[in-house]
């Protein structure tokens, strides 16, 4: 049962509170996870509201795009400044009410299968600006953060500029609002007929988002392989489990097919999405 509700006014105050209340408190952004009986995994005694702490700004500079961690998915889905693929990714959460509440930072920090933005952020090499427990600031790649089970407060997400990058994201779900069976994203930079800096990510084949490093290494510097070839490769490296969303065999097939389609869809999209 929640007994205290804290509303710090600064990032440092929020981080200090979290440190002080270690084990008892958790951050609260939009609240779509902590507040929901379906998704709540923690039962904190105290919550630290980030309402007055997190930026909701979206800005662009020479370094790329900067999205405040407090941006809601709805804001991102309609922002002209945001690349279409990221807008599409935000809208993969089809429930408008949830998009109005859920924040970018919360979506990343939850790192659950319903975090539909993650694959797209991964393939855009998203960098996270963090506030750590000691009061310092740092920037890390999104997969590094997720890989170490990041507990630091996410302040912003930077999408680095990558001229020529092409990208695509897609989901398969049983219905519009269903939590996706699978979300995939793919990007690369075309270099004449070669694939450079490929990025592939899948949500739904494990408990958390998975980046397909080995497939990326296979693709690097090659002409874009056929869809069948990509499908076969991806199917070899993913190990989903059977659930009510489908069998392991189905998810494996789907991961390969959807990644292959996403890559080829990106190739067909001549817009330079992040130039």
């Amino acid at each position: 049962m929640i007994r205290e509700f804290h509303t710090p006014r600064t990032v440092d105050a929020a981080v200090a509170l979290r440190t002080e209340l270690a084990g008892k408190a958790c951050y609260l952004a939009g609240g779509t996870e902590l507040g929901s009986t379906a998704f709540r995994t923690e039962s904190p005694q105290e919550v630290i509201s980030l309402a007055q702490v997190l930026s909701t700004a979206i800005s662009a500079d020479d370094g790329g795009l900067l999205l405040g961690a407090g941006c809601t998915l709805q804001t991102i889905s309609v922002s002209e400044n945001v690349p279409k693929v990221l807008r599409d990714a935000a809208k993969l959460v089809a429930n408008r009410n949830i998009r109005n509440m859920a924040t970018l930072g919360g979506n990343i920090a939850s790192n659950k299968t319903f975090a539909s933005m993650l694959p797209a952020l991964v393939v855009f090499d998203a960098q996270l600006e963090l506030a750590d427990a000691g009061g310092g600031r740092s920037t890390v790649g999104i997969m590094t953060y997720l890989g170490r089970g990041g507990r630091e407060l996410i302040l912003a997400v930077r999408i680095p500029k990558k001229p020529g990058r092409r990208a695509s994201t897609a989901k398969l779900s049983k219905s519009a609002n269903d939590i996706a069976t699978l979300v995939v994203a793919a990007s690369y930079v075309p270099d004449n007929d070669r694939v450079r800096e490929p990025r592939l990510a899948v949500e739904g084949v494990a408990d958390h988002v998975v980046q397909l490093d080995s497939i990326e290494a296979w693709l690097e510097g090659s002409p874009l392989p056929s869809r069948d070839a990509i499908t076969d490769r991806v199917s070899d490296v993913v190990t989903p489990k059977t659930s009510i969303k489908g069998s392991a065999e189905f998810k494996t097939y789907l991961a390969g097919t959807m990644i292959a389609d996403a890559l080829h869809r990106a190739a067909a999209d001549t817009r330079k999405v992040n130039a």
Binding site: I2, G35, S36, N95, L172
Partner: protein, 954 residues
Amino acid sequence: MKIRLTINGKARELEVAPGESATAALKKAGCGGLRNGCDGQGSCGACAVQLDGELVNTCILLAPQLAGRSVKTIDGISHFRDVSPLQSAFIDAGVVQCGYCTPSMLLAVEPLVAQPEAPTREQVMDAMSGVFCRCTGYEQFVGAVELARERTKNPAAKGNVAKVYRDDLKFVGRATGKVDGAHLARAGKAYVEDRVDADACHIKLLRSPYAHAYIKSIDTSAAEAMPGVVMVVTHKNCPDINYSQAGQGYPEPSPYDRKMFGEKVRHIGDRVAAVMAESRELAAAALEKIVVEYEVLEPVLTIAEASAAGAPRVHKGPVDFISGTPDDLDNSDADPRDGRITYLFPIHADIRRNIAASVSGGIGDLDKGFAEADVILERTYKSSQVQCTPLEPHAVYTKLVEGRLVVHAATQVPWHLRRMFARLLDLPENRIRVIKEHCGGAFGAKQDMVLEEIAAFCTWTTGRPVSHRFTREEEFVSSRTRHPIEFQVKLGAKKDGKLTAVYMGVKANTGPYGQHCLTVPMNAVSKSLPLFLCDNAGFDVVTYYSNIPPAGAYQGYGAPQGAFAMQMAMAELAEELGLGQLDIVEMNRVGEGSWLEILRCLGEGRPGKPEQVFSCGLKTGLALGREMIEWDKKETHQDPDIAIGKGLAIVQQGSGLPGLDASNATVTMFGDGTFMLLSGGTDLGTGLDTVSTKFVAETLCVPMEAVSIIAADTDATPFDVGAYASSGTYYSGGAALNAAKGLKNIILDIASEMLGEPVEHLDMLYPGIIKGKNKQVTYAEIAHETQSGVGCGQLTFTSNFTGEAPSFPYGTHFCQVAVNTRTGNVKLQKYYAFQDSGTPINPELANGQTFGGVLKTIGHSLFEEMVLDDEGRCLNPNLLEYIVPMSGDVPDDFRSILVHTDEPFGPFGAKSISEIACGGAAPAIATAIHDAVGVWIRSWPFTPEKLLRAMGKL
């Protein structure tokens, strides 16, 4: 802690707890319209408000998150008693059905009304994407927003919400708005939860963790000792009376095969004990104190398991009969722990083989028919277990008023409830009052008594008021679901496609108890076989007991499953013969004037007889559909991975149960010449009260506003069987019409005396005038005359409606799908439902029911399914994982076209609407999938995985 915020433009300061939900805090602050359909998942949106202009779910917000924010609730949409242009547009467009989601929907689309540019359809759908509506199918909200935008500029704007079907009449056949629309659009108190008094006790149920077990011992002493616990009910102290929960007319065809609490539990979630306590939390805590020892038995979950030789028996109790006791009745091996089963008449059950009911029949000579066939096709089809998911879960509030039991119920069958309470509590019916409150959706689930009797027993025993409301999980595991059915269809046909023989074998799974165990599976036959004319037809129906969650009534009542099997088989036959699906349907279908001989052996609750079809819109529907969907044109997609296909289905339902159903109504004149209609009819949000009001206003030539209605209150209104079998417009409406006609004759007689002219010289004119050749008199004058000291007394007339004509409604459904051949995903591009319901009385609401019925069954077809594990545990007992259709699932081009026919036996030519809409989606989509990718998907739901397997990709 204190928070400051703005609510509907006014600064407020609220005292809230840190962990309190925003819903609770806003309710305490007096905000109306905040409902609960998902128990805090955030998946239904029934609790939504605008927070700084954006729609959010308050159930997943903590109250302190509201600090410093601006909240807009439904109370901020309307001003005093006025409705806003948006609310009036909602009412006129027909999107206010049950009303439970209406406040959220209003708040969802309100910003679109004010924005400068006209919103696209996609924007309207997106705005609603977080709010679950099971009634309307979402489509008409687009028109409602458009109308609201017009009305903000021109308050008199009428829009184009529905076609006029009877331009010779004032109200019937044209959109008028719903009589309770404004009340619901303002979120007025209407539902059971709105009637619960502050001093009410609450009930929580202890449910079985096992699918099949005996209760060896149960110790409730610790729970009973807790302060605030009023009583605990178990099999030891509940009434020792076996009964059926089915809300059917007496004598019910459903067996009396359960007690309020049994010594044996038969499904996970079955009742073990009830705690009545002074708060919900206390009742829940007391459940933890109850100690139960079970003797766990092997469960049977599927039809195959239940029918296997030596299968565990779900029921082993002694059997008796009220009538038709068989000579060989043998109870020698009965186990009294299983409880007694009483059959009111034989339904051909055999509990030793887990058979709950069975029936067989046929016409002609099947063997001869198949021998004459050039082609014989035999296929099997399966439907899955799907849940009704009314947005408002089951709820009841019981209390004693001056020594009488008063029950506020969200029910389809108030009089059946009263009858069942009387038997269970050993009370005469005059000591019981059942008031049907507005239902937040029902769809068949509320035809049965699934919690009401426990509350009634607790109140009658303790004398204290009791509220009981299911959680969403309870709704899944212990309410009602569509029977899973396995069909064997065998067709014989000549090379030209003419049927020579039709056989349908039906095996249904009723779960632990037999409510509707005979009639639902039988309806799967009686609503699907008669669609095709064949001299040789037969069927076998067997329903099995098992240990899955209970099945029962669900809008369509077996017909959607039967339609799927029969229409699919016809489509497969067409392929086998190299014919078109539409052509083989046309060749064999029923039409006006047809005699349905098969109904000779498909009587429901009484012997069957052949019936003639007097009105049938199939010909028109098929012709319109062929043209509108460009049936003969093969579509292609620019993406080579996408295959497009078209499919269709024809469907049939009934208009109540001839010879069984009965409705009554009373119309009374008031002192100013206005009227009160007392109707037994049970409006579930479908517009029945509006239908009945229209019939009276039309007949008595007065504005609809001059007719008020009180309905479905067993004290205040006359008897009605209730709302099921699509009987509302036909029977309950018919009773109102007959009452109005009776009163009209009386009014004319009185006017004749007053005017001194013969009745033949009098005309009844709008608005409430009787005009003779020389003089005229108003209703107000007639009322004054009759109600004065020398008058004949207040004018009133009571009448009933019973019928012998089945008045079948018909439907023709076409759809176009786009199948992603890589992922197996099915996208509905077009869905056109051509619905023949005779004269559409409320066309805008008839369209809404059609859209709603179709979208429900689109859900059943594509994704809805209760998934059980090997022990019978439902793995997805919530809206989020079960998955229900939301606005994002609406077909891109979704149309309801009402095919106007004139049914000679229906009131103003009407037939039923509602259930008929549920039959077409599964076969239309499945045949379209086949047209697209060449595979037959013969079981629900048509998931991407199933398609990929059928296409050989897995």
